[in-house]
Symmetry: C2
Subunit: 212 residues, 2 copies
Amino acid sequence: MLGQWPDKAIERLSLYRRLLANLAAERVKFIYSHELAQKAGRTAAQVRRDMMILGFSGSPTKGYEVARLIEAIGGFLDAGGLQEIALVGVGNLGRAILSYFAGRRPNLSITAAFDSDPAKVDRVIHGCPCHRMEELASLVAVKSINTAIVAVPAGEAQAVADALVGAGVCGLLNFAPVRLRVPGAVFVENVDLTTSLEKVAFFARRQLLRQE
Amino acid sequence: MLGQWPDKAIERLSLYRRLLANLAAERVKFIYSHELAQKAGRTAAQVRRDMMILGFSGSPTKGYEVARLIEAIGGFLDAGGLQEIALVGVGNLGRAILSYFAGRRPNLSITAAFDSDPAKVDRVIHGCPCHRMEELASLVAVKSINTAIVAVPAGEAQAVADALVGAGVCGLLNFAPVRLRVPGAVFVENVDLTTSLEKVAFFARRQLLRQE
DNA sequence: ATCAAACTGTGAACGGATTCACAGCGTGAA
DNA sequence: TTCACGCTGTGAATCCGTTCACAGTTTGAT
């Protein structure tokens, strides 16, 4: 709970939780570090280290208690209650994101969408109401939303980010292929599909060369 | 061109190229490492180091020549010619991916989609023909596709990955919230939207606490 | 009651990516 | 022609995440 939190560790905790939820559904009560590691594609030492920073203990003979561990990760990752999230840009990608998250995580819910296209506003898309861009600042402030998803074209991303930050958002998940300029207190996670695909294509090609 | 290629460096090169393309469109001819670094959100030393592993030289007085650098990165990242890519899963996310990449990178093109839903097969979606799953193995092999995108539900992802790898694919971009089990020679890049969002929400919350 | 086995918890070692710091260089000004 | 400046290129130092390796612990068997 203390110290500096490496974001890699947060990612792993999130993954562990999903894996553990599957196990819990299968009535698995305990799991060893090496078992969880295998499912997560990590080493056992890594898992134990993560448990350590979480402050979670297991039994040397039984391993970690699944139910308690899920709870511990939840208590750490989740907000006190529901954390509302805003989505800006309801194009193809934005709609896919809405449907992807619709009702997935109970504590994390996209409750406001925004788009500049008049054809989209005042409609409910995948369970989420879409508002006019002009309402962004006030609505985000009123709902005290602190996390937002940016799914607009590259050219509009910086302006959208500025508006969101101005309205009090301090965490951005950015899908636009642009590096957003934000104050240091704002956390930005970039999901860059073009780069990801180019990377995979690059390594796939290299694997081919290696095999020949 | 030689040695082990850290995938982080590949990501940066991909980003640099896009930033440089924008600059080229603005008729910028030369750029200094600190300028490119600023646009990419990196340090100048990092940029110079990347140029070094690329084997690209700049002038101490003018910086790097934009056009030549774009070409150097392209010669490195891109295949000889067109690299065809397969997409499996044409749900909301799959369609968004199709539209996202439609005609974006000339050398990287999604030319075959697959889905198990009969309502989707034999249609052309965002310019890409959608085939039956049964055709996957043969079509991937015939086109000698080596890179594929997995955008199916978690439960089907492993089976799809097995089929793709069996057909000769050795690079996977995986959107399913599952760790795929693949042979060591296959490169997998995971895009885990749930984890990304949880991470942003976590840090956003923490920023709030810090400010108070 | 004692022992063996297999795990956890963690200080220390490791390794790779990033940053530092400076030598070397090309250019424009005097 | 010479000098001063500000950049590049890069060996060395640093930093940080990961892995190693082992002491400590709990349990079941004898």
